[in-house]
Amino acid sequence: MSVLSSSMILASGDDPVAHIVDKAIFDSPVMLSMVTLMVCAGVVFYLLLRAARSISTGPESMGNKRYIPTGSFASVVEVIIVYLRDEMLVPVMGKRLTKRYLSFLLSMFFFILALNIVGLVPFVDIQDAIYGLMGKKFDLKEHQTAAVFGGAATASISVTGGLALVAFIVIQAQGFRELGIKGWLEHLCGGHELVHGSIFLWLVIPIIFVVEFFGLFVKPAALAIRLFANMVAGHTLLITVTMFGAMAMKAGLGTLAVGAITLVSGIGAILITFLEVFVALLQAFIFMFLTAVFISLMSHEEEAGQEDPHGSQPQATHATH
C-alpha cells in the first residue's frame, strides 16, 4: 500500500501538506472529506450490520451453535466491543451510564476508526493515476481534486470539530439531565460542597467558574485538535518519507542513488504505515474514551466508577476479571 502510495506521490507533486488538506471535488462546493464521510458511514453501517447478524443468536434449529458468532470479522468486532464496554467504559462510567451511552460511544469509535483507516489507503492517488493512465487532464485550481473519494477526513479540523461538537452536546446534555440547571451551575462553581461551604471559599468560586466554563469548550476542542493533529502529523510523516525518492530525483542524483533512496524510503513508509494503523486505532479509542470520561464527570460524583469496583457484571464470554 505504501509502495503504491509512494509511486503515486512521486507523480503528484512535492508538497506533503497540500496532499493532506481537504480539497473540493472539481469546482463544486462538495469537499472530498464529505464524500469520504458518507462512504465511511455506509461502510461502517454495512460491516457492523453483518457483524451484528453474525453475533446475534441464530435460530433454535442450529442448536448450541446458534450462540457462536460466524466469521473472523464478527469475532474481532465482538472482542473490541466487549473489551471497550467491560474494561474501559464500565469502570469509568458505571453500568448505568455505560448502558445509556454505549451506542453513542461505540458508534463514535467505529466511525472515527473507519475514517482513520480509509485515510491510510491512497484512494486519491489511485484515482489520479487512473486518470493519468486514461490520458485525462483536468483544469483544476488549487485545492481542487478530480478524485471523488478518499483522503484522510480526520486530518481536517472541520471534520474533527464536527465530531467534537457532537461530543460536546452529549456531554452537556448529560450534565443537564443528571445535575439539572442548578447542579450544572454548581458544577461550574466547583461543586456542591464548595458552593455550600465556608464563605471564605466563595472567593475562589469566580476563578473556578472561569476555568470550568472555558473547560467546557476546551475539552471537546482538545478532542478535535488531538485527533486532527495526530492524523495530520502521521500522514505528513508518511508522505514526506515516501517523497524522498522524488526529492533525490529533483536534486539530480544518479539513478543508483535515487533507486537506493526510494527503496529505503519505501521500506520506511511501510513501517510507518503499520505505526499509523496503530495510531488510527489509538486515536479513535482516545476520542471515544475521553468523551466517556467527560460524560462521567457530568454525573453525580458517587456514581461514576464506583458502581462496580470490579468494573463489570459477570461475563462468561470474556472472564477477564
Partner: protein
C-alpha cells in the same frame, strides 16, 4: 523542494455540518439496527453460558450426592455381606459339627450293632459247635461202649455236657 502549503487548520463549514449530520444518521442507524442486536446476542450468550455453568454445577453437586449415597450403600452392602459371610461361616461350622456328630453317633451305633451281631453269630457258632461236638463225642463214646444209646440217653448226655461246658465257660 517543499513549497508553502495550504493551511490545514482552515475551517470549512460544509464538512463540519456534514460530519454532524452523517455521524448523527449513522449513529441513529447503528443504534436501531446494530447495537441492540449485538447487545442482545452477547447477553443471550452470556446468560446461556452462565446457565450452563449453573447447570453443570448443579449436576456436579447432584453427582457428588449420588456418589456419596452410592459409597454409603456400598459400605452398607460390604458390611452386610461381611455379616452374612460371618453368619454363613458359623452356620457351616455348626452344620459340619452336627453332621460330624451325627456321623460319629451313627458309626458308633453301627459298630455296636456289628459287635452284637458278631457276638450273636459267635454264640450261635459256639452253640452249634458244642452241639456238634457233643453229638460227635456221644457217637464216639457209643462206639467205644459198643452199645446202643437211645435218643433219650443221647439227649440227656448232651444236656449234661452242655451244662458242663456252660459251667466251665462261666
Amino acid at each position: 523542494m517543499l513549497i508553502a502549503s495550504a493551511d490545514p487548520l482552515a475551517f470549512n463549514l460544509l464538512p463540519f455540518i456534514t460530519t454532524i449530520v452523517v455521524f448523527t444518521i449513522v449513529m441513529g442507524a447503528l443504534s436501531i439496527y446494530v447495537w441492540p442486536k449485538i447487545q442482545k446476542g452477547l447477553d443471550e450468550r452470556n446468560e446461556k453460558i452462565l446457565h450452563e455453568i449453573a447447570s453443570a454445577e448443579a449436576a456436579r453437586v447432584a453427582a457428588s450426592a449420588k456418589q456419596k449415597e452410592f459409597e454409603q450403600k456400598l459400605s452398607e452392602a460390604l458390611e452386610q455381606s461381611a455379616v452374612m459371610i460371618r453368619e454363613a461361616k458359623a452356620e457351616a461350622v455348626r452344620l459340619g459339627e452336627e453332621i460330624r456328630a451325627k456321623n460319629e453317633a451313627e458309626l458308633t451305633a453301627r459298630a455296636r450293632r456289628a459287635g452284637e451281631e458278631i457276638e450273636n453269630a459267635r454264640r450261635t457258632a459256639v452253640a452249634e459247635l458244642e452241639s456238634h461236638a457233643a453229638t460227635l463225642a456221644i457217637s464216639i463214646a457209643g462206639r467205644i461202649l459198643q452199645r446202643e444209646i437211645n435218643p433219650s440217653d443221647q439227649k440227656r448226655m448232651v444236656e449234661e455236657s452242655l451244662a458242663g461246658m456252660s459251667s466251665k465257660r462261666n
